[in-house]
Symmetry: C2
Amino acid sequence: MAYSPAVQELMESLRCLPGVGPKSAQRMTFALLQHDRSGAGRLARALQTAAESVGECRLCRNLTEADLCPLCASGRRDPGVLCVVENPSDVQALEDATDYGGLYFVLKGRLSPLDGIGPGELGLEGLEARLVAGEIREIILAVSPTVEGEATAQYLAGMAAEAGVEIARIAHGVPLGGDLDYVDAGTLSHAFAGRSQYR
Amino acid sequence: MAYSPAVQELMESLRCLPGVGPKSAQRMTFALLQHDRSGAGRLARALQTAAESVGECRLCRNLTEADLCPLCASGRRDPGVLCVVENPSDVQALEDATDYGGLYFVLKGRLSPLDGIGPGELGLEGLEARLVAGEIREIILAVSPTVEGEATAQYLAGMAAEAGVEIARIAHGVPLGGDLDYVDAGTLSHAFAGRSQYR
Ligand SMILES: [Zn+2]
Ligand SMILES: [Zn+2]
């Protein structure tokens, strides 16, 4: 073993990052120690701060170290429209790609009763209370068209119907410019079944 | 901006890692904060310890937090053979691929007088003193066949000749199983010029 303990430990710790195998971990370790000690120090502090302080937004459950995330805390978003997504990363994807001006609700999962993930585990009672209280006039579903995603969508549609809240779902299908033979079979089958009249 | 300051700072800090662009940094941030807080904490500690404590081995200049690296400190390596490499990562590559049993000397660069990198900057006086003192009976050059690498090799060959020390250089050429049309032109030209008689 040519590595000293501190070098070895850094190399192994880097493997917790997704997509980082032994070779990348090695390359990262040498790059940091030979050329970027200050970057390594900054990353160490950022990791420690985030790992200790980041929790979830009280309203939308996006990742944040504050009580409310920047979107929920902003006075410039329409609190009457709620886009329901599965993961915190979906929020940023929609923010980057659209000019959506409402708020979000992060499910942090999908309904999957067999795995013990029911409406309670996803925090849907809190959402239902907000619907019943009349805070929200429109829900936009941005959950994935998998079996669990469908079950989640159905459940939320039921909640919305009872509360008399409008509900929409984003379109799923073949990506723009996507060659049909490069699109996965599930997406293609979904897009085919969901065809609409062409005028 | 949908990210809170701590999340944003973590995402930006991860960019100091080689090969990590905005998308990977985002994916890493969400993975750590949603699923691996303990991994994030461990990585933070490893980065801080390594950035603060890792220096270079007094003898070979490999990365280590101790006075001597594990190889130089080991009693089981032959101190009479010295393999000269350019970077600390080369040491591990040779350790992984060969059964070499001597020690190393890490140049941490190549001779490049135009850039102000002379023998002094590479610490070659110290190496020369060890050659003259008779500590070393054989040098193996594992420096790259670039212009600067060649200059470095020539300089070391001169030192070895004066001290009456044997010197060898690892072979450079087309990789085993390498299709000629996938090999870069420099390597191919080097391999062609360096052809040997075939019996
Ligand atoms: Zn929020
Ligand atoms: Zn050493």
